[in-house]
């Protein structure tokens, strides 16, 4: 039993925290937020320069071969900064998928990802899937030396920023089967691909992707046909572990902001933090954040567990605790800031919106409660 970080891990955490503090202030973020792309390529190059785009990539592909604990520490810090760049999509989830579907495509994309030269994004979610990973209605039909893809993906985080899309499609089987799901590399400029990019409530970017008779060479298939589901699930679990860490970083930042505010804001002749009702509320915010931190640790440890049921149980449990804590902490942080908490001007509302959005990502609290029940039943 050891909850300490290694010296190297601590150094990484310090580096990213310093980056956020010095180069990703709330004002700098606001300028990026209101830019037309909604994220910054300059910042992306900075992140690459710090080695963060190489973090989750094996050494043989030019990466640092770090693990989920390193990712957790990085996501804590990036969460505090409410990063708008596609780190989670392109530097955590896509590498997790690519390393699990080895072959020519992965060999080509992994070094480019590590160097920060190509942004690769997994497009998996579809309307009405509600977190279920085995529901894939996009179809890919083999036609000679090609596959033809047809269907729609929705609310793909940073889909519009992608140089390369990794699109899941059903090549065989029926709706809900885990068998028969394949992953294809598709360049967004390919005929028949429409990427509709938009802003989301939390200031991030997402996209709906329509595929109309999209013809890609057979060499675009990653791994074996119809066998991609375990890799897709593992990539999502690594994504859940990372987003839980992001949420924890946000909760810590928003608690600190709330504590500062209640110490400085005076009403009835004293700081409002002197009122017991607010003290208890903040004590509960702190407790929930600690519980979420614990589950974020568990998620980081368990997201690579070889036992699939153990993995599902732990990741769903973490998503539930983090979702509930994020909802409580975010809502109460706004409440305790009073009218100021409602404003776009203060960071607290931006933290609140991102926490809200995180609970709606990769399946919400209710979904993961049900997943936990299913995984516990075996």
């Amino acid at each position: 039993m050891d909850f300490n970080f290694t010296e190297e891990q601590q150094l990484l955490a310090d580096t990213v925290q310093r980056f956020v503090r010095e180069q990703y202030s709330f004002e700098e973020r606001r300028a990026i937020l209101t830019s037309s792309e909604g994220w910054s390529r300059d910042i992306w190059r900075e992140l690459a320069g710090l080695g963060l785009t190489a973090l989750n990539i094996p050494e043989e592909h030019g990466g640092l071969n770090a693990g989920p604990v390193e990712t957790m520490l990085v996501m804590n810090a990036l969460g505090q900064g409410l990063l708008l760049e596609p780190f989670l999509s392109a530097a955590v989830i896509a590498p997790a998928l690519l390393t699990r579907l080895p072959g020519a495509v992965a060999t080509q994309l992994l070094p480019a990802t590590a160097a920060g030269e190509r942004i690769v994004v997994l497009a998996h979610q579809e309307p009405n899937t509600r977190g279920e990973l085995n529901i894939v209605t996009v179809r890919a039909e083999r036609s000679g030396d090609s596959y033809v893809l047809e269907g729609q993906k929705c609310v793909v985080a940073h889909g519009g920023a992608a140089d390369e899309l990794l699109i899941t499609a059903r090549t065989s089987g029926k709706l809900g089967d885990t068998d028969g799901i394949s992953v294809f590399r598709v360049e967004p400029g390919t005929d028949g691909v429409t990427v509709k990019s938009y802003g989301t409530i939390d200031g991030q970017r997402a996209a709906d992707i329509k595929l109309a008779k999209v013809k890609v060479p057979a060499s675009s298939l990653l791994g074996a046909e119809g066998k991609a589901y375990p890799a897709v699930e593992a990539a999502h679990q690594i994504g859940i572990s990372a987003i839980c860490a992001e949420a924890v970083g946000i909760m810590k930042a928003v608690n600190a902001a709330t504590l500062d505010y209640t110490k400085s804001r005076k009403q009835f002749g004293q700081p409002i933090g002197k009122f017991q009702v607010l003290q208890h509320r903040m004590a509960d915010m702190f407790i929930q954040t600690e519980q979420a931190t614990s589950m974020s640790y568990l998620a980081a440890i368990k997201c690579l567990d070889p036992d699939p049921l153990e993995r599902r149980r732990a990741l769903s449990a973490a998503k539930v605790v983090v979702g509930q804590a994020g909802r409580f902490v975010g809502q109460q942080a706004v409440q305790l800031h009073g009218g100021m908490g409602m404003t776009d001007e203060l960071s607290v509302s931006h933290y609140f919106k991102r926490l809200t959005s995180i609970d709606l990502t990769f399946g919400d609290t209710d979904f993961h409660t049900q997943q936990f029940v299913a995984a516990s039943a075996g």
Binding site: R130, T200, I201, Q335, G339, E345
Partner: protein, 399 residues
């Protein structure tokens, strides 16, 4: 004990329903029912229609041009109007300053201001809160100095709702900074927004909306005749106003409409190939809010009944404020969760223009996250729910 409506009350409900069916503009009702932003003109247009029918002021006595309705009529009207998608009443004139003018204004002020509130010609806004005076309103600092037949007002007000459309503002100002108690040196002034020295600056909220403002007052000259009641007695009038602010604070009618919208969304959204409304967890969440709302409806009717014997709502209104706002928030949250990831796409301009065709996902999803964000305000404004709990513990429980 009887919860059934009399034939007269049933007939009244039919009359209200008929009026709404024929007179409520469809474009306004569509916006309300879809949770879209209303324009200032939408509110005024509806107010003028109500005025024509004599229903502009459901909460006013007949002598001032109100309906003189009793609690049951008010309840029926609220339920029908909200259900049909009628806009909420902008409360600052009708529900806040008007009762103060009726109770404490002089006949000249009553004749000058009340008819213009009724007709919708005047749009009032509120000058209560200040940056340093929120929950602790009596600590306000905006200063009014007497110079002959007028005051010179200097200070800053905040959380001024929709003041960008207002032509009048009612303000609490400090006329005696040396009074032994903070509450004793305050006066209540009515100020024409066109007076030189008034600047309205927008505060953008987290949903991107421009709903509240800061109002700066710099050497604003206000005639003494625009003071309500006596100098330095403004706190009495202010408290009276806050009592009336909580009239219909429960918002039962609007929450019933939103519950209907939630159910409609849950029927259209799918989970595991079945409507979400059939999912046991989600169905239980909807049921819990519906049950809370049933309890609130009856608590509200009990309060209305008791109120009809007094003039303003008592401290019991705090119960209605707390439960009413918690239910509003729960409904806005469940609608967002019902839709899931498609609640995230956000285009402020589309919500303002009322055209959702360009937003990704089903049209009903487009405003949900913004509304959820916006509704975090309801447990903060009008006396935060923490303050309401203080009122209950002090005024009712005697703690």
């Amino acid at each position: 004990m009887d919860l059934t409506f009399t034939p007269d009350e049933q007939a009244f409900r039919d009359e209200v329903r008929e009026f709404l069916a024929t007179q409520l503009p469809a474009d306004i009702a569509r916006k309300v029912k879809s949770g879209l932003a209303l324009h200032a003109d939408d509110y005024t247009r509806w107010q003028k229609i109500l005025h024509k029918r004599g229903w502009a002021a459901p909460n006013w006595p007949k002598q001032f041009g109100g309906t003189g309705w009793g609690p049951v009529e008010l309840h029926i009207y609220d339920e029908e109007a909200a259900g049909a998608g009628a806009p909420r009443t902008i409360p600052f004139g009708l529900k806040m300053v008007a009762p103060v003018i009726m109770a404490f204004g002089n006949p000249a002020q009553q004749q000058r201001f009340l008819p213009r509130i009724l007709s919708g010609e005047d749009w009032w806004c509120q000058g209560y809160s200040e940056p340093g005076a929120g929950s602790d309103l009596a600590s306000l600092k905006t200063r009014a100095e007497r110079h002959g037949d007028h005051y010179i007002v200097n200070g800053q007000k905040t959380w001024n709702t929709l003041g960008q459309y207002a032509n009048w503002i009612f303000c609490l100002v400090r006329t005696d900074p040396n009074a032994p108690k903070q509450q004793q040196g305050i006066s209540f002034l009515l100020i024409d927004m066109k007076t030189p020295g008034i600047t309205v600056r927008p505060i953008i909220t987290m949903d991107g909306a421009h709903e509240v403002n800061e109002v700066w007052l710099e050497n604003v000259k206000v005639p003494v005749e625009n003071r309500i009641g006596e100098e330095n007695k403004g706190w009495t009038y202010a408290k009276f106003l806050l009592g009336h602010e909580r009239t219909n604070i429960a918002g039962v009618g609007a929450s019933k409409r939103e519950l209907g919208r939630l159910k409609a969304i849950a029927r259209q959204e799918m989970k595991n190939g079945r409507p979400l409304s059939e999912d046991p967890i989600f169905a239980a969440r909807i049921a819990q809010v519906e049950i809370d709302l049933m309890a609130l409806e009856i608590t509200n009717l009990r309060a209305l009944s008791a109120e009809s014997e007094k003039r303003a709502p008592g401290p019991e209104a705090s119960i209605l404020k707390i439960k009413g706002t918690e239910i509003q928030q729960a409904l806005s949250e469940l609608m967002m969760y019902a839709v899931g990831p498609y609640a995230l796409p956000f285009e402020r301009a589309s919500l303002e223009e009322g055209d959702l065709r360009s937003v990704a996902g089903p049209e009903y999803a487009a405003p949900l996250a913004a509304t959820y964000c916006n509704f975090r305000k309801v447990t903060i404004y009008g006396g935060s729910n923490e303050i309401q709990r203080n009122i209950i513990s002090q005024m009712i429980l005697g703690l």
